[in-house]
């Protein structure tokens, strides 16, 4: 069954293992990526995200496991896989004096089904700098060139390793738009990212990796829905609420009063809110906020680490 699923998937990773000396960087990483989906990989520093992508791309030799891309065994036929895969690595740098047009022409010349460099120059808004040396490009232009290079062979599966790292919000938004276009063109995208909101917005599904293991895989909303982290309800009234009465009507919730507000953690949001509102009778309800768990909460719950800059 799993084998059949792997054959159908755009990418199937099974029991991927990698050791660096005495350290297990990957300890049986497994996940599938369906054709046409955007799949995110999240994890704290040193979790193994980049190592996973590098093993898939053949930049590192795994110590165990299997990788299948579009039905091709990537470890046995790396050259064949490279024909159908595109990749944008972290901090891709080219020669100082090479121009985007030259780089695209060079990379395109290695593929039989390459997209014309001029087409990529237009698509990735590089026209203005098409004939400028690489060392004169801005960070955003370099990232766009790296993306253009990833698409030079019109790949079936694209790997983007932290594509928006160190970019300003405007450029990041542009790249998000580009990545969505990639998906709409029917391509499969696998990305790791610094930004949890980016993962939530862009990805159809995500895998959370922690200490070399996949600790969760699913749609962002599913993961949030399955979270055991309680929702947080904040209520403020014109007159103080009766604490003992409050504890009586929502006995399973955690309550805390702070600066005239009650903060209530509850796994039964509807029942808790209904009960609280019913006891407010005769009092004025000034504010009522419901904070449901976010992907960040899920991440903290699964990894025990607050989300921060990734590896």
């Amino acid at each position: 069954m799993a084998a059949a699923a792997a054959a159908d998937a755009a990418l199937a990773v099974r029991d991927l293992a990698k050791r660096y000396g005495d350290t297990d960087a990957l300890r049986g990483v497994s996940f599938d990526v369906a054709a046409g989906e955007i799949f995110g990989i999240l994890g704290p520093n040193g979790a193994g995200k980049t190592t996973t992508i590098e093993c898939i791309l053949g930049l590192r030799h795994p110590d165990g496991g299997s990788i299948t891309i579009a039905g091709i065994d990537a470890m046995r036929e790396p050259r064949r896989v490279k024909q159908i895969v595109g990749a944008q690595l972290q901090s891709t740098a080219l020669q100082e004096k090479i121009t985007p047009r030259e780089a695209l022409t060079l990379f395109a010349s290695f593929y039989g089904n390459a997209i014309k460099p001029n087409e990529l120059i237009t698509r990735f808004s590089l026209g203005e700098k098409a004939d400028a040396p690489f060392d004169s490009l801005s960070g955003g232009q370099r990232q766009r060139l790296a993306l253009a290079l990833a698409f030079v062979n019109d790949p079936a599966v694209v790997f983007l390793d932290e594509p928006t790292a160190a970019l300003d919000p405007q450029v990041r938004r542009e790249l998000h738009r580009e990545i969505r276009q990639i998906k709409s063109a029917g391509r499969t995208v696998v990305l790791s990212t610094h930004y949890i909101d980016e993962a939530h917005q862009l990805c159809d599904r995500i895998a959370i990796i922690d200490r070399g293991r996949v600790v969760a895989v699913g749609q962002p909303d599913e993961l949030v829905a399955a979270s055991k982290t309680p929702a947080r309800i904040v209520i403020r009234t014109s007159k103080p609420l009766d604490a003992s009465r409050l504890r009586e009507i929502v006995p399973s919730s955690v309550l805390r009063e702070h600066a005239g507000e009650w903060h209530i953690s509850s796994n039964e949001v509807t029942r808790t809110v209904t009960a609280i509102v019913s006891m407010v009778d005769g009092n004025e309800l000034l504010d009522l906020q419901i904070h449901r768990p976010t992907l960040e909460d899920v991440y903290l719950e699964l990894t025990g680490t607050p989300f921060g800059p990734s590896e």
Binding site: L57, G58, L59, R79, R80, K82, Q83, V85, A87, L89, S91, T92, A93, L94, Q95, E96, K97, I98, E102, T105, L106, F107, S109, F110, Y111, P133, L149
Partner: protein
């Protein structure tokens, strides 16, 4: 994919021409070397002609062992090669393109040096340009292989400089590349046999002012072995990523490259290719054989010569009536003499003296075929040299027996024993007389 490799090759060349640093290393430094050589060797006749092999070798060494690895390591540090690794192309193809581009860069610098040497110092163009191209290809191959090893071992660009100097300086100082072999002590000349620089110079130089590649077979083979071993080691040690390191097991490939140098050195030693190269200050600094006059030739007397069937300086009248065993041995000696470097390398006067030494050694060591060997030597000299030229050189040797270098043993020619140098010079002079007498018709066989 072929189109990709072609694009990569062209782009490597183009980027090189855009880099000021590459231009300085590729063209300005070779000009500097030319001027440095010119200031030291311009008094030669013709100027610089005897040093062009060294000059081209230095430029090739610089381009291959500094220029190429510096570019490769700088690209690796930037992550260029890591990105190349994702392309559906073999390492061999990319590296071959890089090496080929560097070959053209070095070759263009060599052509520039030859043209500038002609323009500035009047150095003649090479006597055998096509053979020079062949020799240069072998030399560049060997040095580019070493450059590949340096690129693989160096973690960063400064490390390239350090490793490059570790190869460059020994070859310059004691490898016969910077300081001519003839000016080095005997031990250094032996050490030079373990470096490719010596073979590079020995292959290139005869293409400028010698017999071309006729007798450079050993040098070309040596360069091929060293280059092949270095290329294989460089490919095995190659690092796509600046973050990766050379594993302990991989160091075995460094040993392979080093062993190739040792294998070549020991083979050269055992086959007589590391024979000390004489300092030829005599013939060039004193009266040159070219200035020998008819009067000087006519002044030579032959009355002091021993008879040809005497025990001193015997000379067989013919090579007939030999036993099969002797005939076979003589054929072997003749064949070895054909490939004997001292018979081919260096100025004509020294070559004649070297060949005469063979007869002198056979004579003094009382070789059973001493007279026949002397006859083989005479035949050889008459075949190799124009009669008029040989007449002048023999006269010059007779008048200046103390000049030039003396070869006092030749085990590689199957001649046993060693001869005192003074005795050898005396016997060689006597044989010179015997041959001169025959050339000028004063001695009849």
């Amino acid at each position: 994919m072929t189109a990709g490799l072609w694009q990569h090759f062209r782009l490597t060349l183009r980027l090189n021409l855009r880099s000021p640093r590459a231009l300085v290393y590729g063209y300005i430094v070779p000009i500097f070397f030319l001027l440095a050589f010119g200031s030291v060797f311009r008094s030669g006749v013709p100027p610089l002609m005897r040093e062009m092999g060294q000059l081209i070798t230095i430029s090739t060494l610089g381009g291959a062992c500094f220029g190429m690895p510096t570019a490769l390591v700088a690209e690796r540090e930037r992550g260029v090669w890591r990105r190349y690794r994702l392309l559906p192309v073999s390492l061999g193809g990319l590296v071959a393109g890089t090496m080929l581009a560097r070959f053209l860069i070095i070759a263009s610098a060599a052509v520039m040096q030859i043209a500038l040497a002609r323009g500035i110092y009047g150095t003649p163009f090479p006597a055998h340009p096509l053979q020079l191209l062949i020799a240069f290809t072998f030399v560049a191959f060997a040095f580019l292989g070493l450059g590949l090893v340096i690129a693989a071992l160096a973690d960063n660009v400064p490390a390239v400089q350090a490793l490059g100097q570790a190869i460059f300086l020994p070859m310059i100082m004691i490898g016969g590349v910077g300081v001519p072999l003839r000016s080095l002590p005997a031990w250094a000349q032996q050490v030079a046999g373990f470096f490719p620089g010596r073979y590079a110079v020995e292959s290139l130089q005869p293409c400028f002012n010698g017999n071309g590649l006729h007798h450079a077979t050993f040098g070309l083979i040596a360069l091929t072995i060293i280059g092949l071993a270095a290329c294989v080691a460089g490919a095995k040690l190659f690092r796509w990523d600046a973050g990766s390191h050379v594993s302990r097991a991989s160091w075995a490939w460094v040993a392979v490259a080093v062993c190739a140098g040792f294998a070549v050195g020991f083979t050269a030693r055992s086959t007589g290719h590391l024979r000390p190269v004489p300092n030829l200050a005599g013939p060039l600094a004193g009266e040159p054989y070219e200035s020998i006059t008819e009067a000087q030739i006519n002044s030579i007397t032959f009355t002091d010569l021993n008879a040809d069937d005497d025990t001193v300086t015997p000379l067989a009248h013919s090579l007939d009536s030999l036993s099969d065993e002797d005939r076979q041995r003589l054929a072997n000696i003749r064949a070895k003499l054909d490939a004997w470097p001292p018979a081919h390398d260096g100025p004509d006067a020294q070559r004649v003296r070297n060949i005469l030494s063979v007869a002198a050694i056979a004579d003094y060591t009382q070789d059973p075929l001493e007279g026949q060997i002397a006859r083989v030597v005479f035949d050889r000299l008459q075949a190799d040299f124009d009669k008029e030229l040989l007449t002048r050189i023999l006269t010059w040797i007779i008048l200046h027996p103390e000049q030039g270098a003396a070869i006092t043993s030749a085990p590689e020619l199957d001649l046993q024993g060693r001869v005192n140098e003074d005795v050898l010079r005396d016997r060689a002079m006597l044989y010179a007389k015997k041959l001169l007498g025959r050339l000028v018709g004063k001695i009849v066989d």
